[in-house]
């Protein structure tokens, strides 16, 4: 007994000490990691340096701030080729939700590189305490990295530095040079071609034609949902907003002044029309409860849905996904109303930030230099020339050897999505040009109707500013309140719900936001015209 006790005691003490040590190291782990990375951040260029000199592969961590991102690791023939060309291999973490990045910023636990497309995070990361300024790194490590001044202009933060160059932007000169094949993309509606044929391929040239089409589907196929809306509010109302000439959210330019969409009759008309679709039984209430794209897509791929409001690429993508069941999809015409208007305010979408925790800023900026080069963009967006694509006879657009609309193939090759780390809008658009496809036909229609005003997109409040709070509060409120308009049981009720939403926005400080936006707009336009 006594022996047992003496043998047990040291073991207990050892256990206690182990737990204590674990607790202490657990608590301090973060700090020590941070301090070691920050030391290496300043000293790496000499020790680790770039791969070309040592021949070693530099592994960097990249955080992708988009929970829906389809590629979960840096694998496939294209990432391998990028690694071969740059000596950089990326270890990927995809966000589980949109709250993860703000938490990482708060804890100071940022990986080497971060890619985000959220306005708030773009603004927040453009901070010298969190990210390297690209100019600083270019001057130090890549003096031959030349970026078009217009790209720099649309990415310059309030402190005068630029911390990223966002993708999906092209200068007007680039658009002009590629106007034949670089087509625009936007919202669209895809419908089942077999049912269209069954109904005698009715023409859809007006909104009432569209109503009639849904009515026929409801009549002939009562088991089907005539129209399914993508759960993303922007795609759900995108097609209808353009038909009414309304902005989906935020500000639009009206005769040189920025006006919030909630103040426009166009938006109200769009909501009333969408409410009519619901009251006629063409859209189901449950549609507004879907939280992710798969729920909506499943209705389409299982054959329960007739039309899907999504993007103009929808028909080709759905056809590719429903190969097994044999469904084919076509796009409805882009313009079916006299009040149609679409303005492109895009000044870029997502950007890569090189965090201050970065282990190898030199390799990072050189990786971005490669990805932004024409060669890098083509490789990452399109694939290996000769193997994955060849240029068309006139050299205007890539002709692919693989099914471009198949997400499965793109994911396997690791193609396209990593190209978005630094792809220009024109190169993205050229990759979408496939003669004869539904996407291309719709893009051609849209491109003829679109006008560009990137300066509107540059009016974004600073991170954590009062204006940003008001803007976010209004956007959140709209998402909740607009459901009440969609699902109102009468037009009167829908009008009341819209008025109530506009009134709420006023109470939340819309007027102050408008005043700020117009001051900023004047400033941005001034800079833009220089």
């Amino acid at each position: 007994m006594g022996n047992n006790k003496t043998a047990r005691k040291p073991a207990m003490i050892l256990l206690a000490v182990t737990i204590l040590a674990g607790l202490i190291t657990g608590c301090s782990g973060n700090n020590s990691e941070n301090s070691s990375t920050s030391t290496s951040a300043s000293g790496t260029s000499e020790t680790e340096n770039n791969t070309s000199s040592t021949g070693k592969i530099v592994e960097l961590k990249l955080f992708v701030d988009q929970p829906w991102w389809p590629l979960k690791d840096w694998s496939g023939s294209i990432p391998e080729e990028i690694t071969k060309q740059t000596g950089v291999k990326l270890n990927i973490t995809v966000a589980t939700d949109e709250k993860q990045l703000p938490l990482m910023i708060a804890s100071g636990d940022l990986p080497d590189l971060v890619v985000t497309g959220t306005n708030a995070q773009l603004k927040r990361l453009a901070d010298p305490s969190l990210s390297y300024s690209w100019q600083e790194l270019i001057d130090k490590y890549a003096p031959d990295f030349k970026i078009d001044p217009q790209y720099i202009a649309v990415n310059t933060a309030d402190d005068g530095s630029y911390y990223t160059i966002r993708n999906n932007f092209s200068t007007s000169a680039e658009w002009k040079a590629n106007e034949k094949y670089a087509l625009n993309t936007g919202a669209g509606i895809s419908v089942r071609s077999d049912i269209m044929e069954e109904l005698g391929n009715p023409k859809v040239e007006t909104l009432s034609d569209l109503n009639n089409l849904f009515a026929k589907v409801k009549d002939k196929h009562p088991e089907m949902v005539p129209l399914v809306l993508n759960p993303n509010p922007a795609w759900a109302k995108g097609y209808f907003a353009t038909q009414f000439g309304a902005e989906k959210e935020g500000f639009g330019d009206k005769e040189g002044q920025l006006v919030h969409t909630l103040r426009t009759p166009e938006l109200e008309k769009m909501y009333l029309y969408m409410n009519e679709l619901y009251r006629s039984g063409y859209v189901k209430a449950e549609n507004f409860a879907y939280k992710n794209e798969d729920q909506a897509k499943q209705i389409m791929t299982s054959g329960k849905g007739f039309a899907y409001a999504w993007t103009i690429e929808g028909a080709d993508r759905l056809t590719s996904e429903t190969k097994a069941s044999g469904y084919k999809w076509v796009q409805l015409p882009v313009k079916i109303s006299d009040t149609f208007k679409v303005e492109n305010y895009g000044s870029g979408w997502q950007g890569v930030f090189i965090s201050k925790n970065n282990k190898n800023p030199e390799a990072s900026i050189k990786l971005m230099q490669f990805l932004m080069s024409e060669e890098g963009q083509r490789l990452a967006l399109w694939g290996i020339e000769g193997q994955d694509y060849k240029m068309s006879d006139d050299g205007g657009y890539p002709v692919f050897t693989y099914d471009r609309s198949s997400d499965e193939v793109k994911n396997e090759k690791g193609i396209y999505w990593w190209g978005l780390l630094a792809g220009s809008a024109v190169n993205e658009a050229l990759g979408n040009y496939v003669p004869g496809t539904e996407t291309t036909k719709a893009s051609q229609q849209l491109s003829e109707l679109i006008t560009f005003k990137p300066e509107v997109g540059l009016v974004q409040p600073a991170a954590d500013s009062q204006e940003e709070v008001i803007k976010n509060n209004i956007a959140t409120m709209m998402q909740t309140e607009e459901a009440k308009i969609y699902l109102a049981t009468s037009e009167e009720e829908a009008k009341k719900a819209f008025a109530n939403m506009a009134q709420q926005a006023d109470k939340m400080g819309l007027e102050n936001l408008e005043t700020w936006a117009n001051t900023k707009y004047a400033e941005v336009k001034g800079n833009f015209n220089q």
Partner: protein, 329 residues
Amino acid sequence: MLKTRTLTPSYLENTSQQEDTFTKRFRKQITVQIFVWLGLLFLLVFSYLPMFGILMAFKDYKITSGIAGIFTSDWVGLRYFKELVNDYNFPNLVRNTLVLSILKLVFSFPVPIILAIMLTEVRSSFVKRFVQTASYLPHFISWVVVSGIGFAFFSTETGLINNALMSLGLIDQPLDILTNPNSFWGLAVSTAIWKEAGWWTIIFLAAIAGIDPSQYEAAQMDGAGRLKRIMHVTLPNMKGSIIVVLILSIGSILGGGLVGSNFEQVMLFGNVLNSETSQIIQTYAFNAGLAQGRFAFATAIDLVQSFISVILIVSSNAIAKRFSGSSLY
């Protein structure tokens, strides 16, 4: 020996003797002491140190300023509290939080007690074991899975229950349980009971197992029937456990009490269509705080909620002490 000790109280003993006793006792208890200090350290690190963060609720804190920013940011007074109270949704948030929590307490609290008593009364050990296992297993299923099951059952388009009822001709229109604001509270309370009642039954079963069988025998001798035995023997003996569990669940009532997870339920079952009844203070804090990166505002919201919880737990403890003599402290 006994006499000497009585005549010389410990406070008259000299200091060196005291130190000797202290060191001796400390050495003797070293293993236990380490565990106690570890526990205290754990509390200090994870429960008390983070409380400095509360300062944020009164400061113009920006997440890019890191931990130091909690202390160095400018004071803003009660700005965030005012903003919360003036939010257009505030009355709804408070109403939903309170109603959902109270409904859960009222309906879920008696279930494990009743289930425990019923299980004790069951004679067949197979049935007893089967019911107990079947009722506590859902505890191990995460709310994410429960919400998936809920969707598979109640969806108006693809739900099993709606499909079954429609094909049996019992209903003409599918029941919109997942999207109707009027059904959210019922859905939340019933799924919470289904998930957690069996788990809490275990505590009450343990309390019942500890009752001296002679009390039942005596009651039986006095002619008490089954119901009388439950009323006069089982329930009074369970009183202590019931009160402790009740105080604990009142303390955490705003989080969902015994059956917990108001937050998870609302995040998963809540949607824009039922937001009128589903939005609660916690989800609001989560969305305003983390999605927009407004940590200071979220801290202020949570502080308000913690304050209400403290008041609830202290007052319920005092009430329990007054009326039953049992209390947490």
